[in-house]
Amino acid sequence: MNATERVSVLVPAGMLGAGFAEATVERGLALGADVIAVDGGSTDSGAHYLGSSTSKSTAGAVARDLRSLIKAAARADIPLIIGSCGTSGTDDGVDWVADIAARVMAEEGLDLPVARIYAEQQAGTLEEMLGAGRVHPLPPLGELQVGTLESCAHIVAMMGHEPIAAALEELGEAGTGARVVLAGRATDTALAAALPLMRGMPAGPTWHAAKIVECGGQCTTNPRAGGVFVTIDHHGFTIEPLDPESACTPISVAAHMLYETVDPFQMREPDGTLDVREATYVALDERTVRVEGSRFHTAEQYTVKLEGARVAGFETMSFTAIRDPLILADIDAWADLLRTTLTQWVTDKLALSEDEYAFDIRLYGHNAVLDDLEPATAPPREVGVMLLVNAVDQATATAVAKVANPLMLHLPTPRMDYLPSLAFATSPAEVERGPAFEFVLNHVVDTTPLEMFRIERRAGGS
């Protein structure tokens, strides 16, 4: 096997902790994987995980997947790369996954070299970069304000493939030997792209392949069936699912460029832009697809994207339900009365001004999801009423929700002359949700590939 002719990447799942069939990893090793790459995070589930620096996946689920992948990497003598550790890729997230990996290795009698790559950023350092004109907004956000940086609970930068490649090199000869790279926040594609680029595969096919495999089986005909196997060479790439019952088709592969992207033809990475406008997708057999014609345009300026989350108040939720058709026939008037009465009662009973709290009333079963974009007009059979209160602190949010409690139990419609009793779902009705986080950064920094990331090598069992 000539390592410089092609590089094969095994992606066992779209996310570490999602779980996968052991047999699919075996199959990937049998096909000759050169590296295992898996994403450990995402911003999809909201700013909570970055703001609180906690993982969406449980430690148990991460340990289960890590055990399988570390053993596979050790047996096949290939590297394992995990990106955006701990969901958001904060320093805590990297250390959290590293601790789990160390425990798993100790239990398995393994001692693979481990590199941690930290991606968390200090507001002060970024303020200097902002002052030097090195920070630029991405649409739809505007110019960054210093106060915004200081308000963030956590800020991470999304690394490209270079810090991962540097970590692999630091741990051993390029591309040989088992070792584990635990990266903080990274682009989804950098994980699968790192080793192929190190071994001289062309950037166009490499980045395109890395984008197609970033969600595991999402590019196959059965997204729930697990991972994918991609081989990149000097002319293109070839992709197949790891589950023998599933298939990659030209449509399923091409369509993945649509998934969660604004622009399906061009995608910016830190060092340039992937361009798939000329790409061709050809079925080699009923489950394998060949892609050629992908291009990569290197950018004049290397940029790294920032993500930041800050506390946007504290929330308390309350939930009741309505089945009485007399109320449901007039549900919008009922909700309007709830809004005006609650606002008045909060003024009277708590003496809060309107800038000290806010609430949202959602009528599940009626128009909660689309609100005023809802096109349907038929009366609902039953409605769940969610009250979500946001205030400067938890106690205030809960106080507002408790003022609402008798209304959510007994409020009539404007036309009723008696008090109905509605169906609370739980007791107590109020649930304290803690701090609410919001994403506030969508900006890039003019930088170099390694400037904003720190690589630490530690022994596996430590």
Binding site: H48, P140, A255, V262, F265, L373, E374, P375, E438, N442
Partner: protein, 125 residues
């Protein structure tokens, strides 16, 4: 707040009423594209359905902006005949996870688009 939406039929859904984009599609879906954008795809059943929704005299940035109450200048559309797909992206009007965000992954916002009635054959809007 529940007045008729521009371009959306007030009649019942599938079965009765006018033929909609959703009736002619394999799938109409929406999803967040990062925290600040939403993106939607119309996967049409064939070239005929594609030709209908890819026709800017039926579906363009202004129609999308009307359905979702956003600035037409922020709407991006991609017409992909090889996949029989029209893809639409625009900034999320409500920030992900904020108090007013009722759809964290923006995964249910395809419905107003899917319910859009298509022009009947031979008729030009």
């Amino acid at each position: 707040m529940n007045g008729p939406e521009p371009g959306v039929a007030a009649g019942p859904g599938a079965g009765a009423g006018p033929v909609t984009i959703g009736d002619l599609a394999l799938e109409v879906r929406s999803k967040n594209a990062g925290p600040f954008w939403v993106t939607m795809e119309l996967f049409m059943r064939g070239a005929d359905g594609y030709a209908l929704v890819a026709d800017p005299s039926f579906l363009d940035e202004y129609v999308v902006a009307g359905l979702y109450r956003v600035d037409p200048g922020t709407v991006q559309m991609f017409r992909i005949p090889s996949l029989n797909v029209v893809k639409i992206s625009f900034p999320r009007p409500v920030t992900q996870g904020s108090l007013r965000d009722r759809d964290m992954h923006a995964g249910q916002h395809h419905v107003p688009l899917a319910r859009l009635p298509v022009p009947s054959r031979g008729e030009h809007p």
